[in-house]
């Protein structure tokens, strides 16, 4: 501040100020005039042009779905591929009368009458410019038929796209699984942005478990669409340059499975007309060689879509084709657990190799009259452990079971992988069940039911009672037997392949803790007994091992589906097919250098050695190169 303020001339200052306000106002009015002029130019002079652009030319960002990874078997044969196909789409905002259009499409046979209400609902729920897929895959005839009629169906169009295809259909239905149309539930689970261009997702099996790598990464492109929503080639638009931004999708990884499609074919043929499952594992690394559940279904019908009635028929079929028996079916393992129990009994000293029992066809606990029957009514006579495995003598195991005890059974059977999921790379695997005292305490509500009865130990020793195992668990346990206690986690995916670089990542075998039975002598003897099951004069499956060009080992099992009363006889011809015993067989080969371990379960197949064992043999023949039949 200066020492003295100069005298302010208020009048001239006011004049100056008013002058400046007027100047500013003039400039302001001119500037505003420019804006108004611009508005007039846009809204009056060029109105028609912009009206057309807003009506017709719309830049839309469209998601470009990635190509789903292919799935191959162990020898590079395609199990799942993507085939070009035409799908039928409807864009609600372009259809003058949706009801009428759907009715006429139904009349042409392109959609089912029963689908009309569903599509009607869909057309009302989503954004009106978003296409609804009416059919995922049209046949050549349907395409030709619709092409002729197309002018009569504004808003309905054919769209090319890739459809998942399983060339071997039923053979891989349960192992590879299938993809199905994305459901609302799927979209809540998955990243909606990543799936914005995708129509299908893996629902079961390998397709589901490996969804993350198979799907790939979504890409984008900006498209210019006209008033009807149909895409206009970008180069015909003047501002296409500024809009032509895009990002290519990254395709999903290809998968190489350890599965052998030839082995699947043999398994399917063996189980034809039956309910059951076959699982084969390479015992040296846990690779799944075959995994088949019968009856199967055509996974392609899920990929291309089916009508609700078709789906209901599949769902309600009393043969339960959708049920994956190989990993979800829980069956009493029957006598197939005898080799494992024999090893446990030797390890803990509940028996020895020279102990002999006399089998008279039944066994009773001291002080009880209840008879636990042997499968052979007349008995096996005097048997040792080797004979008991070879001939599957139940009484021998009834006797030693009291010394093993249920908790030891539980301890050793769990080491073979029973009672817990194996950890295979597919979803939905069942646990099975290996009972113990503790389990029973927790499993029942009533105090009286929580007590473990001695009789329950007896029947557990022949794989009955509470015991349950899946075919996969039995195959894995068989592989463990073949490897003398060395365990690998079963897996289907052998390698991932980047389709752009061709680079492969191999999945190394995953070791699991060994079975804690270290005396090779025990293994020698039990495995020798399993060998003699198939390849000695008294083995239960000797007919199956007869004349084989290689040595093999196995064990039959027959699991009761229902309990026979004490004095009744089991008469196969008299009882309903559904109540017949399940037939089981486990085997591995070659005996000296195991390369394959198999578990076969045939529901209500009556005889393990008679029905299931030949199936196991056929699988091993195929794998080891001794199958002369045409595939």
């Amino acid at each position: 501040m200066s020492l003295f303020s100069p005298i302010k001339d208020h009048h001239s200052e006011t004049q100056l100020f008013v002058g400046r306000v007027i100047l500013s106002s003039v400039i302001g009015v001119v500037l505003l005039g420019v804006v108004v002029g611009r508005l007039v130019q846009l809204q009056v002079v060029d109105h028609q042009l912009f009206a057309e652009q807003s009506q017709g030319n719309r830049i839309r960002i469209e998601a470009v779905p990635p190509t789903r990874g292919l799935i191959f078997d162990r020898r590079g044969r395609v199990l799942a591929e993507n085939l070009p196909a035409y799908q039928l789409e409807l864009i609600p905002e372009q259809v003058p009368d949706i009801n009428d259009t759907l009715a006429r499409l139904a009349k042409l046979g392109l959609i089912g009458e029963e689908d009309i209400p569903r599509f009607n609902g869909l057309s009302q729920s989503g954004p009106r410019f978003k296409p609804i897929t009416l059919r995922f895959r049209l046949t050549d005839d349907e395409i030709a038929n619709f092409a002729v009629q197309r002018p009569r169906f504004p808003g309905v169009d054919l769209q090319p796209r890739l459809v998942r295809h399983y060339p071997d259909g039923e053979l891989v239905a349960h192992a590879v699984g299938y993809v199905g149309a994305l459901s609302t539930a799927d979209l809540e689970r998955l990243d909606a942005a990543a799936y914005s261009g995708t129509s299908h997702t893996g629902k079961t099996g390998v397709e589901h478990f490996n969804e993350g790598v198979l799907h790939g990464d979504v890409g984008f492109r900006q498209v210019v669409t006209n008033a009807l929503g149909r895409q206009v080639p970008a180069e015909t638009r003047d501002y296409a340059d500024s809009a032509a931004e895009s990002e290519s999708p990254i395709p999903g990884d290809n998968l190489y499975l350890s599965l052998d499609i030839d082995l699947q074919r043999v398994a399917a043929k063996q189980l034809e007309g039956r309910r059951g499952a076959i699982v084969a594992i390479d015992p040296r690394n846990g690779e799944i060689l075959a995994l088949f559940s019968a009856p199967a279904f055509d996974p392609n019908s899920f990929a291309t879509g089916m009508s609700p009635s078709e789906y209901n028929a599949l769902q309600q079929d009393d043969q339960r084709p959708l049920f994956n028996r190989a990993v979800r079916g829980s069956y009493p393992p029957g006598s197939t657990i005898k080799p494992m129990l024999a090893l446990a009994a030797l390890e803990i000293g509940a028996t020895n190799l020279t102990r002999r029992s006399v089998c008279i066809g039944w066994y009773s606990l001291p002080g009880s009259t209840h008879r636990y029957r042997d499968w052979r009514p007349q008995g096996h006579g005097e048997v040792d452990l080797h004979d008991a495995i070879q001939q599957s003598c139940d009484v021998y195991f009834y006797e030693i079971s009291r010394d093993i005890g249920i908790d030891n059974m539980h301890y050793y059977l769990e080491q073979f992988g029973l009672g817990n999921v194996t950890g295979i790379d597919m979803t939905g695997e069942a646990d099975g069940l290996v009972p113990s005292r503790e389990w029973k305490r927790n499993a029942f509500r009533e105090r009286a039911d929580q007590v473990w009865f001695p009789g329950e130990t007896i029947i557990a020793s022949i794989g009955q009672g509470y015991l349950l195992a899946t075919p996969l668990q039995l195959a894995s346990a068989t592989a463990t037997l073949a490897m003398r206690g060395q365990r690998f986690k079963p897996h289907l995916v052998a390698a991932f392949e980047d389709p752009l670089t061709g680079k492969r990542i191999l999945m190394p075998p995953e070791r699991l803790p060994n079975v804690q039975i270290n005396d090779e002598f025990y293994w020698d003897n039990v495995l020798a007994a399993m060998h003699d099951v198939m390849q000695s004069g008294r083995g239960t499956a000797r007919a199956v091992g007869l004349g084989a060009p290689y040595d093999m080992a196995g064990k039959s099992g027959t699991a009761q589906v229902f309990t026979i009363a004490q004095e009744e006889k089991y008469d196969e011809d008299e009882i309903d097919e559904r109540l017949r015993d399940h037939a089981l067989f486990i085997a591995f080969a070659p005996f000296e250098d195991p390369q394959i371990a198999v578990a076969v379960i045939v529901e209500n197949g009556s005889s393990g050695s008679g029905i299931a064992a030949p199936m196991a043999r056929a699988i091993m023949d195929q794998h080891l190169g001794f199958n002369d039949d045409e595939l």
Binding site: H10, V21, G28, V35, S54, Q55, I59, F129
Partner: protein, 379 residues
């Protein structure tokens, strides 16, 4: 239109007192200005309801902000101008300290920092929107006008310091608008026209030459600095869609909430910077001209109040506040119609978001105070 016509047009507030008039007078509110502002806000809320896609929650949120801003205006209107003037240096100093605190906090947070959290979150740059023109007017209050060269240097420093601090946040758009509000004070105070013309003439070729010497990546940086939120390609897309929206609206518009560009989300930032395009599409040329007319009325009434003011401080401040408001309107509408590059300036009192609404209406509160208190300040 002669000056006396203008005076008649904007002098409605001096009409004989009715019932409403006496209430307004007792509350130190200016009727015409309040009426104009309320009409702008009302029209804004109507457009905003459509622009937020009929989301009631967001709309009510904006209504609440408007109520807060109106209360702020009412409070400020009660403060006599000489009180405001005596507070000005302290407010300016406080604002500077807050700006430095924000920068320091931003240094710690390693990123752009505009907000200060002291109980309530606010941007100190909002204080400066009023404090800078007030400080310039305060300095010139009892000096001889037109300002001397040394006065210009001092005011220049008073303007540049907060401008640089805000630009470092970094928020170049806001800092330039704040500098503009200070410069307007000097212009109104009588900066010689030949100096203004000289500066303008020198800056245009100067900027052009500088631009030519810049590398592409430097140009890119300047563009990004001007408009941090979108790349040129994105901005180009915005402008295309905005022009299509306005142009397709025609004379009468497509009807409220019926704009396909706006409702189908072709138009980006439709509820904030580009809300003018929504209005152009849905209410047509007539709609946007009505809004511009309301804005013009508000600015005109503000300038009338400035001319009526009795002392230098009030006069310069009222003029600067009114003209700055006009600059906001012009920059936004020119940007949305594709006349000037996209810079992030919202349409005042209409765009969604309330931080600037309180400052804007507080500024108009000062105008009202100046107008209503002038009789109590005999000169």
């Amino acid at each position: 239109m002669s000056f006396s016509d203008t005076q008649r047009l904007f002098s409605g507030g001096n009409a004989p007192l009715s019932g409403v008039g006496s209430i307004l007078q007792r509350l130190y509110l200016d009727g015409p200005l309040l009426g104009g502002l309320l009409m702008v806000c009302a029209l804004g809320l109507v457009v905003l309801y459509s622009a937020v896609a009929q989301n009631m929650d967001l709309w009510i949120q904006q209504c609440m902000r408007l109520v807060v801003a109106l209360v702020a205006m009412l409070i400020v209107a009660q403060l006599p101008p000489d009180l405001l003037r005596r507070w000005t240096p302290w407010g300016y100093l406080g604002g500077l300290i807050l700006l430095i605190m924000v920068l320091a906090a931003g240094e710690v947070g390693q990123g752009a920092q505009r907000w200060l959290d002291i109980g309530i979150r606010f941007q100190p740059s909002e204080i400066m929107k009023l404090a800078v023109p007030m400080m310039a007017a305060w300095y010139l209050h009892d000096r001889q006008l037109p300002p001397k060269f040394m006065d210009l240097v001092v005011i220049g420093v008073l303007i540049i310091v907060p401008t640089v601090l805000i630009a470092r946040q970094p928020d170049l758009g806001t800092s330039l608008l704040i500098a503009m509000s200070g410069v307007l004070v000097i212009v109104l105070a009588g900066l010689p026209i030949r100096v203004m013309v000289l500066l303008a003439l020198a800056s245009i070729p100067g900027a052009y030459v500088l631009w030519q010497f810049m590398q592409d990546y430097q140009k890119q940086r300047v563009l990004t600095l001007l408009n941090p939120d979108s790349d040129p390609l994105g901005a180009g897309y915005n402008i295309i869609q905005s022009k299509i929206a306005i142009g397709s609206g025609g004379l009468f518009g497509k009807g409220w909430t019926n704009g396909s560009q706006a409702q189908l989300e072709f138009l980006p930032e439709r509820d904030t910077d580009f809300i003018f395009a929504v209005m152009g599409e849905e209410l047509g040329l007539l709609g946007v001209l009505s809004l511009l007319a309301l804005y013009l009325f508000v600015v005109g009434r503000g300038l009338y109040i400035a001319i009526q003011a009795r002392d230098t401080f009030s006069r310069l401040l009222a003029g600067s506040i009114s003209l700055t408001f006009f600059v906001y309107v012009f920059v936004n509408t020119a940007m949305v119609t594709g006349l000037v590059p996209v810079v992030g300036v919202p349409l005042p009192l209409v765009s969604f978001g309330g931080t600037s609404m309180v400052t804007l209406l507080a500024g108009f509160g000062i105008l009202m105070s100046i107008h209503r208190h002038r009789k109590l300040l005999p000169h």
